[in-house]
């Protein structure tokens, strides 16, 4: 397998490795911020994996074309609907108190409700905006 070694790839992989290292230090030695450390490690790992995958592909394979944009939009829309459905189910569980073990705490339920309302409003606003705009670039 051939790896590209151009400046962008090296920079991206370097930043990812830096994030992992910083995350490990924060996670192990700065206890009050251990969550941030964990997030840095996870972000760094995802970045590293993405960088390595990108390094195996030619530059032309990575250009944004209409199909990749459509694929991303479709995936984003599906992810949004899935998030709303999961948020609705969690809210419903809390409302009906079906199973105490599955019922989220008050804090979690409030956050989920906020995500649900914010997501829905942003969706409505964006749909209106893109509908007005058309899609001629």
């Amino acid at each position: 397998m051939k790896f590209r070694k151009d400046k962008d790839i090296i920079k991206f992989i370097g930043i990812s490795l830096g994030a992992i290292l910083a995350g490990i230090i924060v996670f192990l030695y700065i206890k009050p911020f251990s969550t941030i450390g964990f997030l840095l490690i996870m972000g760094g790992l995802i970045g590293l994996a993405a960088g390595l995958i990108a390094a195996t592909k030619s530059k032309e394979d990575l250009i944004e074309d209409e199909r990749s944009v459509k694929v991303r939009e479709k995936a984003g829309y599906s992810a949004f609907i899935a998030t709303l459905l999961i948020a609705s189910m969690i809210s419903l569980l809390r409302l009906l108190k079906i199973s105490p073990s599955l019922t989220p705490s008050r804090d979690v339920a409030e956050v989920v409700q906020d995500i649900w309302i914010t997501g829905l409003w942003i969706f409505i606003v964006f749909r209106w905006y893109y509908n007005k705009k058309g899609d001629i670039e």
Binding site: E60, D61, I63, D65, E66, R67, S68
Partner: protein, 64 residues
Amino acid sequence: MRTRIKELRARYDLTQEELAKKVGVRRETIVFLEKGKYNPSLKLAYDISKVLNSKIEEVFIFED
């Protein structure tokens, strides 16, 4: 929808990669187009037809 991209590409001795580069898309997109698994935008259909010196309806064939 089926396309004659593969056949016309061969006529002009173009690889998938070369055609992709000429119309500004990924090679993958040309692969999916040739398999009939992707509906291109009117602009992309026009660009491909132009590169292949054909009319859109000669390259992209819609069957009822």
